[in-house]
Subunit: 362 residues, 3 copies
């Protein structure tokens, strides 16, 4: 579960490993007997059935191996060595990186589904004469492609996407339904943009305008753009604002989950990954290969070095100059216990003074 | 205010109570004189005028009773007993549950508005030949219904909804404008889905791919789906991701407010209600009848039992095995006072040691 | 960078200052020589080239003045006095408010771009017969305008906007692509609404319905509307819910960033500005001229006076009766240091008792 391919379309196990293994992982079938099983899908150890392949990458799930009904299981050599000779009936696929091999298999099965989607430009799409649409591009129903847009070969837009004047989408991108690019936004190759993504809305910039009324604001028009590198994925309803004067920049291989907010002029380094609901305020620079937990917040105008891990919910309010993990959410508690402790939080400075007094008296 | 019905369409008070009271609540008009007033709408105690009905459910508002200009007020017997004999001129509707009665009345007036909306399939909607659309279904302008979709009797889709391949929508659902279902998403009966809702975007899953580049990520295609039970409501711009291998599951009667993020493989038990801006990380299981305050966050792979209340803004970072209320947000303060206390928070461990030293010396 | 106008469209510096300075700021060119340069765009001190104008408003950037290649720089008289006589080659524009002058210039250049957008009603828009569309209104492709809608002179709707029954949009508004108004929403003049904005979705209101099942909820239909004043800007994917019985009200000149959630019956006073990801729970009233940092949260039914500043990430859980700055996020730390301190947070009440014991013994 889920079984994805009809039995007459399913490859044999060796065929599957060959076609899916696009990065050349080491991969060896053990305990194999002819005829090889056909594999219709991929599942977890407990859910996979006799026409599916599974994998063990989390050591905590080792005990599930004996219970698995999968046709074959991907595991490391060292895990395989722990199995009794008369062990689980499933075939074993020995691989140094079972989790990566599973990723490749899941991609292969999903590509089958994608290849069956409708192709070509839907007649209800509204496309400006000056837009340059490369070959093998699909444009879904009710899309709007404005003047001067360029879309690279093999890219695929779901229904109701809007691509603003002068924006550029690279090759082999996948825009799901209802993605919006404002004008002058650039997206690299192989991007995956999910429904509700908004690239290039105005950054939040205002100057006080006392000439109008005390407290009134004058809008600072946002003249910069947004640039996404290659291999970027952006989750549903995430927004990335355009820069004030220069661009907001997202590096290669960056992965952003849903409902993230990236403000104007932020820079995010290559391969950084952010879980959902993160907010990054204006002009902050985040390094490469950082991992950011869900609902973390970043103040504006900060600089974070490469290889920083930020725990979920943490508010980052100053620069981080050293790689490492940073945390800031204090533990929750039963409400009554919390009430007792919360009252003390607002007295901490006073408490410290009382300790100092005691120390002097001592 | 708001007056909802024209006077010639307004029912008399007894008629209204009869048609709106679909659950058979006890309900008795006191102080009634013929002819009965016609009721054109429902309002709060202070805003309702002489053609509207109001209610008292919050004891704090008791003093407003004497000031109300409403034609009739719903209240409990015990509240009615407190009123002077020559008390407020409005009629009294005695009911054991005034708040529920108000809910039923508001539903009845709103249904009038909904019944006047356009029906049928709009000619600009793009509907695949293999989609199965039941009778009495409305599909708004610019909707896109893909192959193999099934939509149950009496359901109503606002403009610009997208329903992906193979997804299923039950009976009597209400999808407001611009709701998006990816492929293989299942929605039960009587769902209400608000604008910007995205069901079935990819969960956030990646495996390290050192074969490509240090720090690079390989996408884990998300092969599971999303399943919503019956009577679920989902607020504007809320996103519920599809599962990695199995489904993300939302129980019957679950109510989700706006801008909530439910990650892949989360399970939410029946009748649990979440206020806005909550984030739930992957594979976490939340029990039945829980109430979750706004902007609460849940780490991944947790298990929470039934009947848990989480206060707004609280970060839940470990399992909860016992019903009850849990809280974790420490109190805000005037900025200077906060500065003094915040400095101490980072010295708490050291402070405890100083107390220990003093205790030993004592 | 970005150069915005072709050289044959660029005004001379004095012309530009005259046409852009719509509020009558004091503004004087110093060190001017004929012929005056033509200005094609605006840039930061370091990025602006010899056909662009720049500005200095942040004293920290003073050192960049000497390095700027801009044609002209806007600065205050006192900053200009610090420059050596043979100082930077760029022309100096003396102005008491360089940041506001920059805002006006950026607006002027952006208006050029907007004036080139397509005008008129796109043939794919679906517009009800009873809608009243004023003169000089643009309606983008695939918009849906329902019955009884009114749109004021000079307003411009991007592609795929949906305006529900009876809603009203004022004059000179700019709705970017894919903005949704439910029924009976009112928007004042000169509003700017970004992609994904949802005005008027149902507030989150339910009454316990034990008649159905223990824990079940009955929906409270939301009969109020949403009212936005004049000069309001709302960022991408922000949601403002309709009121339960009365309206949710946003004052004149209010500026809301992206992904903000305003719940039912909230009132926000004139000129208040909120950074991204803020959540305001139901019926809370926020005063005029407040500034709210990103990801701040507000509990429901609170009252905040005018001129309150709330720091980013702060949870406001009680009324604020005095103007001033309020903060509540405790500082993050290196993960190990955090672990040591976090353990003490749950013992604070106990710690205080131990100090009391020591004090008595002393």
């Amino acid at each position: 579960m889920p079984v994805l391919l009809a039995s007459d379309q399913a490859p044999t196990l060796p065929e599957l490993l060959r076609v899916a293994n696009t990065v050349g992982l080491d991969c060896k079938i053990v305990g194999a007997t002819e005829p090889m099983p056909c594999i219709q899908g991929v599942g977890s150890l407990l859910s996979a059935g006799p026409v599916e392949i599974s994998f063990l990458s989390n050591p905590k799930l080792h005990a599930q191996l004996a219970l698995s009904k999968a046709a074959a299981v991907i595991l490391t050599e060292s895990v395989a060595a722990t199995l009794p000779a008369n062990g689980p009936p499933c075939l074993r696929v020995i691989c140094s990186q079972p989790y990566l091999m599973y990723a490749l298999l899941a991609q292969w099965f999903d590509r089958h589904r994608i290849d069956q989607l409708a192709c070509g430009v839907h007649p209800t799409a509204v496309i400006a004469d000056t837009a340059l649409i490369a070959e093998h591009v699909s444009i879904g129903a009710h899309c709007v492609i404005e003047a001067g847009v360029r879309i690279g070969c093999g890219s695929r837009l779901g229904p109701a996407c809007v691509v603003g004047t002068g924006s550029v989408i690279g090759r082999d991108c996948l825009l799901h339904a209802r993605v919006t690019l404002y004008h002058d936004v650039t997206v690299g190759d192989r991007a995956i943009l999910h429904t509700g993504v908004v690239l290039g809305a105005d950054g939040f910039g205002f100057a006080p305008d006392p000439y109008k009324e005390p407290g009134a604001w004058a809008k600072i028009a946002q003249l910069g753009g947004v640039r996404l590198g290659d291999d970027v994925e952006v989750g549903a309803n995430t927004t990335i604002d355009r820069g004030a004067l220069e661009d907001t920049v997202i590096g290669n291989g960056v992965k952003l989950d849903n409902q993230i907010m990236i403000a104007h002029n932020v820079h995010i380094g290559d391969h950084t990954a952010m879980a959902a609901c993160v907010g990054v305020a204006g002009s902050t620079q985040i390094g490469r290969r950082c991992t950011i937990g869900g609902a973390a917040m970043f103040a504006g105008h900060l600089v974070l070095v490469d290889d920083v891990q930020v725990s979920g919910g943490t508010a980052i309010t100053s620069n981080i100059n050293e790689a490492g993990q940073y945390t800031g959410v204090y533990p929750f508690a039963d409400h009554r216990q919390w009430q007792r402790n919360a009252a003390v939080v607002s007295q901490l400075a006073q408490l410290r003074r009382r300790i100092q007094t005691l120390e002097k008296a001592d």
